[in-house]
C-alpha cells in the first residue's frame, strides 16, 4: 500500500520491533504494552507523509493491525491505537471546521441527536488559516500544519497513561472506611497503589488470596502491602467463600473491560465475585480507562482467554496422572457485568451499565475492526 511505504523505514522498523517483542511476550503488563504502543505510534505519525486524513488514518491503522495481530490477547495495544485515531480525527475536524459545513440528515439526527448539539466543542487548536486537502503545490503543507497538533494529542494520551495509578488512587480514601476488611486477589499494580494511598488516611485490614496458579503472586502483594503498614492476611484461594461473610468490600484489578460492562480478570476473580454476590458484598474494580475494549462478543469465545503453562498445575514428574488427564490452566476469568458494582477508573467512577457510553466517547465506531 503506497501510504505505508511513504512512512520512513525507521518507523516501520519500530513497529516491527514492538510486534516481535509482543509476540515473544517480552512486554509484560497491559500498561507497559500501551505505553510502548503510544511511543511507536508517535514515531509513526511524526515520520508519516500524508496529504489528507484518510492516508494518515490508514497509516496508523496498518501499524495498529500489525501490533494487534502480534498479540491479540493484549487488548490495551488495540485500545491505544483506537484512542490515537479518535484524537487524530477530532483534531482534524476541529482544524477544518471553518471550511466544511456540517450536513444534517435524519440518520445523523438519530445517531447524534439534535442539531444544535453538534456545533459544541471548543477548538483546542491554534491553527490559523484554513487547512486544504490535496494542495498540489505543496503536498506536505497539510501534514506540516496538522503534525504539531497531532503530537500534542499523542502526548495527551501518553500523559494519561503515565498518571493512571495516581488518578485511580486519587479518591481512595473515600472508598475505604476505617476498620473495614477488604478482600483482594493476586497482584495488581493499580489495586496496590489504591490500597496504599488509602492507608495514608485510614486504618483497615486486607485479606489477600494467594492465587496459587500464578506463581503465588498474591504473596508479593501481601508483602508489599504489609511493608506499607497495612495489616494483611494471606489466605489460600479455597477459603475465599468461607471468609466472604467477614469481608466488607472486594477490590479487584482487571485485564480488560468489555463493551457490555463485563471484564477479563485474573483467574479467581469469578469465584470472588460470585461469592461476594451471594453475601451482597460490593465488588469494586480499580482499572485504568485504557483497558476498556470496544469488543462485544469476546466472552463467547473460550479461546479469548489466555492460557498459561499446564505444568504449573500438574508437573511432568507427577508421573501416572499426566497422560490420563487433560490439564487446562486459564490465565483469565470472564466476570459478568451483573456481578460488578462499580469501576473506579482514572477518569471517575462508573457502573458497568455506562461502560458503553465511555466507549462511544473515547473511540470511533469505524475503528472497532482495525
Amino acid at each position: 500500500m503506497a501510504p505505508e511505504l511513504r512512512g520512513s523505514a525507521s518507523s516501520h522498523r519500530a513497529v516491527e520491533t514492538l510486534a516481535a517483542k509482543l509476540r515473544r511476550r517480552q512486554v509484560v503488563g497491559s500498561r507497559a504494552a500501551a505505553l510502548e504502543t503510544v511511543l511507536v505510534l508517535r514515531q509513526v505519525v511524526s515520520k508519516a507523509r500524508f496529504s489528507n486524513l484518510e492516508q494518515l488514518v490508514s497509516i496508523i491503522r496498518s501499524a495498529g493491525r500489525t501490533l494487534v495481530e502480534a498479540q491479540p490477547k493484549e487488548h490495551s495495544v488495540g485500545n491505544t491505537v483506537r484512542k490515537v485515531l479518535h484524537h487524530v480525527r477530532e483534531e482534524y475536524h476541529t482544524a477544518t471546521r471553518e471550511t466544511t459545513k456540517p450536513s444534517f440528515s435524519i440518520a445523523k439526527f438519530v445517531s447524534q441527536g439534535q442539531p444544535r448539539k453538534q456545533a459544541t466543542g471548543a477548538a483546542r487548536t491554534e491553527i490559523k488559516g484554513i487547512l486544504k486537502d490535496y494542495d498540489t503545490s505543496d503536498p506536505d503543507a497539510f501534514a506540516k500544519m496538522l503534525k504539531p497538533v497531532l503530537m500534542e494529542a499523542i502526548q495527551y494520551v501518553l500523559d494519561e497513561l503515565e498518571t493512571v495509578y495516581d488518578n485511580v488512587a486519587k479518591n481512595a480514601k473515600d472508598h475505604i472506611h476505617s476498620d473495614e476488611i477488604i478482600l483482594t486477589l493476586g497482584k495488581s499494580r493499580t489495586v496496590e497503589e489504591f490500597l496504599i494511598t488509602a492507608a495514608h488516611n485510614r486504618n483497615y485490614t486486607v485479606i489477600v488470596a494467594e492465587t496459587a496458579l500464578r506463581k503465588y503472586e498474591g504473596r508479593e502483594m501481601a508483602k508489599s502491602l504489609s511493608s506499607a503498614g497495612i495489616s494483611t492476611f494471606l489466605v489460600p484461594d479455597s477459603s475465599i467463600f468461607a471468609l466472604m461473610s467477614r469481608v466488607n468490600k472486594v477490590i479487584l484489578g482487571a485485564h480488560a473491560i468489555l463493551a457490555n460492562g463485563g471484564m477479563f480478570a485474573i483467574t479467581g476473580s469469578q469465584i470472588a465475585a460470585t461469592a461476594a454476590r451471594a453475601h451482597s458484598t460490593p465488588v469494586v474494580v480499580c482499572v485504568g480507562q485504557f483497558k476498556i475494549t470496544p469488543l462485544w462478543n469476546l466472552y463467547h469465545e473460550y479461546g479469548a482467554l489466555d492460557f498459561g503453562n499446564p505444568s504449573d498445575v500438574l508437573r511432568f514428574d507427577e508421573g501416572n496422572l499426566v497422560d490420563k488427564v487433560d490439564v487446562v490452566n486459564p490465565y483469565y476469568d470472564y466476570v459478568r457485568p451483573e456481578l460488578i458494582d462499580a469501576f473506579i477508573t482514572n477518569d471517575g467512577d462508573h457502573p458497568p451499565s455506562s461502560i458503553y457510553r465511555l466507549l462511544k466517547e473515547t473511540y470511533d465506531d469505524e475503528d472497532t475492526e482495525l
Binding site: A107, F109, V110, S111, Q114, W296, D365
Partner: protein, 337 residues
C-alpha cells in the same frame, strides 16, 4: 425513489381535495421491504408534498394531524407511531436558513426519501453485527417472521453452520413462513409449538427475535409470545437478543403489559354471559352448546406484548450493539433537551 420533487401550487382547486394519508401509507406498504415506520415516514413526506402550509406551525400541525389519522386507521399503531414521531421531530428541529418555505418543504421531502433509501441498508448492517455473535454450530430459537432476523440467519448460513427452531406464532402462523423460507435456503429448521418453548429451551444456544418497537425503558415490543420466550430464556440462562433498526426506537414507557397503546377492552375480555332465555333447555332437556370460533380467539387475544429490559441481553441496531439501557440515550438525544 424519484429524486425530483414537485409541489402542487396552493391555489388550484384540486389541492383543496383533502390528501388522504392512509391510502398513501398502504401503497407504500405494498413494497415488501418497507416496514411500517418507513411507510409512515414516506406517507408523511407525501403529505408535505401535497400540503399548502406556509409556516412551520401549519406544517407541523398538518403532520401531527396526518399521524393521528394513520394511528386511528391502522391496526397496529406502535411502530407506525415511532416513525411518525421521528419524522415530526426531525422536521421541527431541521435547521433552515432559506426564507423560501417552498424550498424548505422540498428539502424536507428530499430528506425523507433519502432516509428511506438509506434505511433499507440497515437490515444488512444489523445482520453483519449480529453474525459476530453467532458461533459455528449454533442452535437458534426465533419467533414468528421478521425480515431482519431472516437476513441475519441467511447471512450467518453463508459463513457458519446453524440450525433454527421457529415458533408457530399463532394465531397468524407467521412462524411457518419463516421455517419454509429457511428450509428453502438450506438451513435446517423446524416449527415448534408456542407451548413447546420451555421444552426446547435447553437445546437452544440463544434466542434471536426481531421487533416492532424498542421503547425508552429498553424493553421490547414484539409479536405476542416474545415475553414468554424471554422469561423462559432467562430461567434457562440463555442469551436473548433483539434486532431493531434505529427508526423503531419509540418514546413509550409502558409500566405493564396493559399499558400499551395496542391494548383495547376486547382483549382478554370474557364473552357476555348468555341470558336465561337463550340458555333454556330445548325440548330434549339439553342445554345448547356454546361454540367458540378461531376468529373469536384471535379477536380476544393481543397481537403484541412487552418484554422487560432486564430480560434482554443485547439489542442489535444499525447504530451499534446496545445494552437495553443504551437505547434511552438515543431517545433522549432526539426528543429531550
Amino acid at each position: 425513489m424519484d429524486s425530483v420533487v414537485t409541489l402542487r401550487p396552493p391555489d388550484k382547486a384540486s389541492a383543496l381535495a383533502r390528501f388522504d394519508i392512509y391510502p398513501a401509507y398502504l401503497r407504500r406498504l405494498d413494497d415488501e421491504q418497507i416496514s411500517t415506520p418507513l411507510a409512515a415516514i414516506l406517507a408523511l413526506t407525501e403529505l408535505i408534498e401535497n400540503s399548502n402550509a406556509d409556516t412551520m406551525f401549519e406544517l407541523v400541525k398538518a403532520l401531527n394531524d396526518g399521524a393521528e389519522e394513520l394511528k386511528r386507521r391502522a391496526s397496529n399503531p406502535i411502530s407506525l407511531n415511532a416513525g411518525c414521531e421521528l419524522f415530526t421531530a426531525f422536521v421541527t428541529l431541521f435547521p433552515h436558513d432559506s426564507a423560501n418555505f417552498a424550498d424548505l418543504k422540498r428539502e424536507l421531502v428530499r430528506q425523507g426519501q433519502k432516509y428511506a433509501v438509506e434505511a433499507l441498508t440497515y437490515r444488512r448492517k444489523i445482520a453483519e453485527l449480529a453474525v459476530g455473535f453467532i458461533k459455528d454450530g449454533s442452535v437458534i430459537l426465533t419467533h414468528s417472521y421478521s425480515r431482519v432476523v431472516m437476513q441475519t440467519l441467511l447471512l450467518a448460513h453463508e459463513r457458519k453452520r446453524i440450525s433454527v427452531f421457529v415458533t408457530e406464532a399463532r394465531p397468524r402462523g407467521l412462524g411457518i413462513k419463516t421455517a419454509e423460507a429457511l428450509t428453502a435456503a438450506g438451513i435446517p429448521s423446524t416449527v415448534i409449538l408456542d407451548s413447546a418453548v420451555a421444552y426446547v429451551m435447553e437445546k437452544v444456544d440463544f434466542v434471536l427475535v426481531g421487533s416492532e418497537a424498542v421503547v425508552e425503558s429498553g424493553g421490547l415490543i414484539n409479536a405476542v409470545g416474545s415475553n414468554q420466550m424471554a422469561i423462559i430464556a432467562r430461567a434457562a440462562n440463555k442469551p436473548f437478543y433483539a434486532l431493531a433498526e434505529s427508526y423503531k426506537f419509540h418514546r413509550l414507557f409502558p409500566l405493564s403489559q396493559y399499558d400499551l397503546p395496542s391494548h383495547h377492552s376486547k382483549i382478554l375480555s370474557f364473552p357476555r354471559p348468555e341470558t336465561a332465555t337463550s340458555l333454556a333447555k330445548d325440548e330434549h332437556g339439553k342445554k345448547p352448546s356454546v361454540r367458540i370460533t378461531q376468529e373469536q380467539i384471535s379477536e380476544n387475544n393481543p397481537d403484541v406484548d412487552y418484554t422487560r429490559p432486564d430480560l434482554i441481553s443485547l439489542v442489535f441496531s444499525d447504530v451499534g450493539s446496545l445494552t437495553p439501557e443504551g437505547v434511552s440515550q438515543y431517545l433522549v438525544g432526539m426528543f429531550a433537551g
